[in-house]
Structures are given as structure tokens and as C-alpha cells.
Amino acid sequence: MNLSIAVLAALDGVSYAALVFLVSVGLSLIFGVMRIVNVAHGSLYAYGAYAAATIGIAVAPISPWLTYPGLLLAAIGIGVVIGGLLERFLLRLVYGKDEALQLLITFAVFMILDNLQRLIWGVQPIFAAVPLQLLPNITVLGVGYTSYQTLLLPGVAILTLVGLRYFLRHTLSGAVILAVTEDREAATAVGIDPQRVFLTTFILGAILSALGGALASPTTSLLPGIGTDMIVLSFAVAATAGLGQIEGAAVAAVMIGLARAFAIYTYPEFEVLMPYLIMVLVLLLRPQGLFGAARVRRI
């Protein structure tokens, strides 16, 4: 492999990793705090994407630049409404119950939302690429890249990681979340309302899931089934990192992104396998995931 191929593959790997991190970090956060494997994460991703495309198509004729705030608005709207309703009226009923039950309930929600999605947006692929088309292409070693995928998405991924770290470690709300994660009873004893913390966390995780979808929407076709694919990939990232590991999710996403890109450049047959091959190898060596056991606290 020559140097130019290595550079191009690295660039492709990092852009892909950024997207993978953005779609999987919400899953990790919710599991880290609430110990719930949220299968409906895939639906939140899909709804975030569809909502962003809908807003984008509506506002683009006024000004194409309005599609950018549209992405954020879609993520927050979907996260607050669907995330809030889910936590308040469903998940709250099953905290402390068997994990299998929680899994089944979020899976049922996923199936319902998947069907509802078809009713709302239909089955024909939707493509709303205005935010991507607004930014210029850049050329690296004679190969054109979109700056949306190569610069903007990795930038947003880094900002999300840093922002989440700051929020959890350096703000009162973050400290409260950590306290509930660490010891729910003790936190309750000092006056923290864990239900409120769970609601906040779930909404935050839902916003992150929807943000992943919203940011991915200009790059891809939206159609039935997009949520299913993303949930599988997100689980692979989260399991590789160790469930609940936010920084670990970033590292796992980069590993998976780079491995996939190098596979395409060298042995394309292995492309589909790479995320799962890495997951299996990591779990064989460290069943708790890359970052799972080193710390007691899981976020």
C-alpha cells in the first residue's frame, strides 16, 4: 500500500467514524446512566433524519442556509417530543424490571415507530442534500471530497464529545446525572429526584440519536429500514467500546471507520465484516469492551 492510498483511506475512515460516533453516542449515554438498551434508538435516528429533510425541503426555497438550523431544530424537536413521551409514559413503568422486558418494550416501540414512519413519509426514498451541497468540495491527492463529510461532520463529532464531557464533568446538571448513575439511593437521600434525572438523560440521549440522523440526512437516501441498519452498527460500536462508554464510543468508531476504509482500499470483500470482526475480536479479548472494566463509573 502506498502513502497516497493510506492518506485517502485515513481521510475516508475518519469521516465515516464521525458519522458512526454521532449515531451511536446517544445509545451509549442512555445505557451508561439508565442501564437500558434502547432499541428505539434506531427510530430516533430515522425520525431525526426525516424531520431534518422535511424542514430542509420546506425552508430551502427561502434560504438554503436555513437548512443548517433546521438540522438542529429537527434533532431537538424529535428528541424532546418522542424521547420525553417515551420516558415519561413507558420506560418509567419498567425501571428496575427485568432487562429482557425493557429490551422487548423498546423493541416494540421501534416497530411501532417504524410503521408510523412509513405512514408519515411513505416508502419512496427522500434525498435532501442542500446542507451538503452548500459547502465546497476539497481536493486531496487528486480526489475530491465534500467538506461537509470530511470537515464538518468530524468537527461536530469532536464538539459533541468535548461538550458531553464538559457537561457531565463540569456542570451541576452533569454532576447530578453522575451522582444518580453512581448511587441512586444516596443521590435520592441528598434530595436529587432520580426520575427527573432519567427524563433529562433520556431526552439528551434521544436528541443525540436524532442529531446523528439529522446530520446524516444530507448524505444519504432516507427510506424504510434506515433505523434498523443504524441500530445494528450502533450496538457494534457500543459493545466494542464497553456499553456506556462515551469516550470509548469515539475510539471504537474511529477503529471501525479506519478498518472499513482500509478494507475497501485493499480487500473490499471484508468491508461489511469489519465492524463486527473488530467487535468480536475486542469482546474475545475483553468481554467488557475496550474501556469497560478500567473504571467503576460507566460514563
Binding site: D12, R118, F127, E271
Partner: protein
């Protein structure tokens, strides 16, 4: 006058009485309705074909019933979601045949579904029209009595696209492929690449990419292709996958660098709008095009297309025409069988007999079911993308319509063996060319 009136009354009463007597006999002959169960994708990514197929079926059935049904019997449709897949699909199919006693089934879109349901139809002895699945191997493995493919198979479809490419760009040296990683993506490339090696042995295959079915991102494949610079890129992908690949390739200049061949791209043209350049090669899985050069001026063809557009908001795509072909073949078979039965309602076996070697026509050239293997021989239309007034998407130009009898293996030979016998002479095949609007 009184006598005449009495005589009229008596004869009228006699007629009514005779009618009352004869109607139960007729009802025994003819069923109240002809039940058709259709498997189609109502969920999942392939619903981009399945839902237009269902819309077409409903529209066609309404039209048939408005005109008095098939041999006077109205058709009644039921649908099974192929998206459920596997066991659910098989058990639903069995249920509608055995419990609901459907007369005919149309199964299926996916070749995987056809592989499961064709042998089952044989066991259940129910007439089954393989209305959209394309894998050549299904009907090569065994001779079936009860299943008929009312359209082409992958061999005809891929051969037409390949010969079109070789006629249009005879001097290309390198090619790469980006296909979905499942049966269709693999089989279509196998046919295309095997034939390519026979027809133009000096071509070098520089890249073979099979991203996951439903992959949301092809950026890395696009980068790799930009670096490899192949003369031609083939893809037989479809639906959202094809839209994403073409748009990502277009955004980064790959569509201008390499000639793209969209093996079954006809279904994506309306969605892709003007985002694709002119000069891409597009296949249509048959001679399916809403501006079909030999059909476009026929009032009934125009009326069908416009009715579908009014109903769904989009012009028909190939699954719509495939559905129309299934219905046309059914009507033709019942007409033929009805005549053979002396005007009476034909039995199921009589209809099956009528299907053998049947020729019928829907919205393209006539299709013939080859009696040896029940495989449809269907003309193939391939063209180049072109901007045209009145359409906000690319239409097809420089269309060639291939006579498929020349580009399919004989029933005595399997596709793989036949492909290896091809010679470059085949490229000289005489094929008519049609301009858009010409």
C-alpha cells in the same frame, strides 16, 4: 289485445322462470370471484418496488372489474407482505392458498421469495405467476408446471445492458462494479462479467465492490473509484442505495470521470431529478418506459400512464409494468382456456395448460412464455439519460430495444454454460435505435 298481453305476460314469466332455473347452474360453473393473492414488499427498502406494484394491481383490478371481470368473473385481490420474509411469508402463502382458496398467486418480487414459494406452489397445485423476481437459476433448476415467469430473467436484462455498453463505448479498457451485497447484486455481476470476458476479453476489471445492502454511505467506494479512474462503472443497485451512490458520486465528480451504467436505473430516474448528468446508460428490466418509443402514441398506453400518475403522483416504473404483464397473461390464459372449454369456466388445470407457450401483451412488446421452462421472453430497452423539455428529471434517449430471443440461453443449456460460448460477433447484433420523442 288482451290475448296478446296475456301471451306476453306468459312468455315473460316463462323467461323469468327459466332464468331462475338456469342461474344456479351458471353460478356453479362460474365462481363469484376470481381470487388473486399477490406477494409484494409493503415494508422494508424494496417497498420502492412493492408499493407501486400494489398500486398498479389495485388500479388494474378495478379496470378489469369495471369491464366485466375475467370471463365475466370479477377479480378480488389480497396482498401478502414479502417484507416479513422467511417463515411468515411461507405460512401466509400456504394460508391464502389452502384456507382462503385463492385461484391464482403472483409471487414474488424477491428471488429469495420465489425460491421459497415456487416449489410450494407446485406442491399446492396453484397457478403462480412470478411477476417480478429475476434470478435465472430458479427455472433452470427444475421444470415446474404451476409457475410461470411473466417477464424476463437476469440473463436477458444483463446481456442487453452489456451489449448496449459495447455498442456505445466499444473502446473502454477498464471497468469497476459497485453492487449490493446480496443475491441480485452478485448474480447480475456474475452474468455481466462472464459475458464481458467473452465479448471483450481485453477489458480489465479494476475494482469489485459489494457494499452491504441498504448501506447509507458510499463515500469510501467513491474515493477509491476516483483514485482508480475506471473507464466504466457498473451498478445494478436499486432504490435508496442507487440514489445514494449516484448522488454521492455526482457530488464528487465521479459521474463525469467514469461512464456510469445503471443496470436497472429506470426506477430511480424520477427521484434523481436533474442531479445526474446526461449520457449515463440506464436499463429497465424489460422494455419498460413510460415514453416507450413504440407505445407512447397509443391512447390506451397514455391513459394507463396518466391514470397511474394521477393516482400515485409518479409515472409508472418497471414493477408497475411487470404487474400489468401478470394480469395480461392471466386474462389471455383464461380467454384461451375458456375457448378450449367451449365457453365454460375453465378448470385450474385447463388454465395451466393455456399458460404453456402463451404470448400476451401489456405495455411493451409481446411477451412469450417459453414452453420448455415457463420463462418469459421479454424485449429489453436500454437508453442514455438526456434532459428534455417538460420533465424535471432525465429521460431516456438513444434507446435500443433488444429482441430477447437472441440474448438468452436456450432451454437446453444453463446460463453459466451458455455465457461461456458467446463470441464478440454478438456485439454486431442488429438492434433498432429510437430517439426521445422520435
Amino acid at each position: 289485445m288482451t290475448v296478446i298481453r296475456s301471451a306476453l305476460k306468459a312468455s315473460l314469466a316463462g323467461m323469468l322462470f327459466a332464468g331462475l332455473l338456469s342461474s344456479p347452474a351458471a353460478a356453479q360453473d362460474k365462481p363469484a370471484e376470481l381470487k388473486i393473492a399477490i406477494t409484494t414488499f409493503l415494508s422494508g427498502p424494496a417497498s420502492v418496488f412493492g408499493v407501486p406494484g400494489k398500486n398498479a394491481a389495485e388500479m388494474i383490478a378495478e379496470d378489469i372489474n369495471k369491464k366485466g371481470g375475467i370471463l365475466g368473473v370479477p377479480v378480488k385481490l389480497s396482498f401478502i407482505d414479502e417484507g416479513a420474509g422467511g417463515e411468515a411469508l411461507v405460512s401466509n402463502y400456504r394460508r391464502v392458498v389452502q384456507d382462503e382458496k385463492v385461484d391464482v398467486t403472483f409471487a414474488s418480487i424477491s428471488s429469495g421469495s420465489c425460491n421459497q414459494l415456487v416449489p410450494l406452489a407446485e406442491d399446492l397445485k396453484v397457478l403462480n405467476l412470478m411477476w417480478d423476481c429475476g434470478a435465472s437459476s430458479i427455472l433452470e433448476a427444475k421444470k415446474y408446471r404451476y409457475s410461470f415467469r411473466t417477464q424476463a430473467n437476469a440473463t436477458q436484462e444483463m446481456m442487453a445492458v452489456l451489449i448496449y455498453l459495447l455498442k456505445k463505448k466499444p473502446d473502454f479498457k477498464t471497468i469497476a462494479v459497485v453492487n449490493q451485497d446480496y443475491a441480485w447484486g452478485r448474480e447480475s455481476w456474475e452474468i455481466f462479467s462472464t459475458a464481458l470476458k467473452q465479448l471483450k476479453p481485453d477489458v480489465q476489471i479494476v475494482g469489485e465492490f459489494f457494499p452491504k445492502f441498504g448501506a447509507p454511505d458510499y463515500s469510501t467506494e467513491v474515493s477509491r473509484l476516483l483514485a482508480l479512474r475506471p473507464d466504466v462503472v457498473l451498478t445494478t443497485s436499486w432504490g435508496g442505495d442507487l440514489d445514494t451512490l449516484v448522488r454521492q458520486a455526482g457530488q464528487r465528480g465521479l459521474l463525469r470521470q467514469s461512464l456510469f451504467v445503471l443496470g436497472i436505473g429506470e426506477t430511480s430516474l424520477q427521484r434523481l431529478g436533474r442531479d445526474v448528468p446526461e449520457g449515463l446508460i440506464v436499463g429497465a428490466r424489460g422494455d419498460h418506459w413510460f415514453l416507450h418509443p413504440e407505445m407512447k402514441d397509443k391512447p390506451e398506453f397514455k391513459a394507463f400512464n396518466e391514470a397511474f400518475k394521477a393516482r400515485t403522483g409518479a409515472w409508472p416504473i418497471y414493477p408497475v409494468y411487470h404487474m400489468a404483464q401478470a394480469f395480461s397473461s392471466l386474462q389471455a390464459a383464461y380467454d384461451k382456456a375458456g375457448k378450449a372449454a367451449g365457453g365454460k369456466w375453465p378448470s385450474r388445470e385447463q388454465v395451466i395448460d393455456a399458460m404453456q407457450g402463451l404470448t400476451f401483451q401489456a405495455w411493451g412488446r409481446p411477451v412469450t412464455l417459453r414452453p420448455d421452462d415457463n420463462q418469459g421472453i421479454e424485449a429489453q430497452l436500454v437508453g442514455l439519460t438526456k434532459k428534455a423539455d417538460g420533465y424535471d428529471f432525465m429521460v431516456l434517449d438513444e434507446m435500443m430495444i433488444f429482441d430477447s430471443t437472441k440474448i438468452i440461453n436456450p432451454p437446453t443449456q444453463k446460463t453459466g454454460d451458455w455465457l461461456k460460448t458467446l463470441t464478440p460477433e454478438l456485439i454486431k447484433l442488429d438492434v433498432p435505435v429510437f430517439k426521445h420523442g422520435g
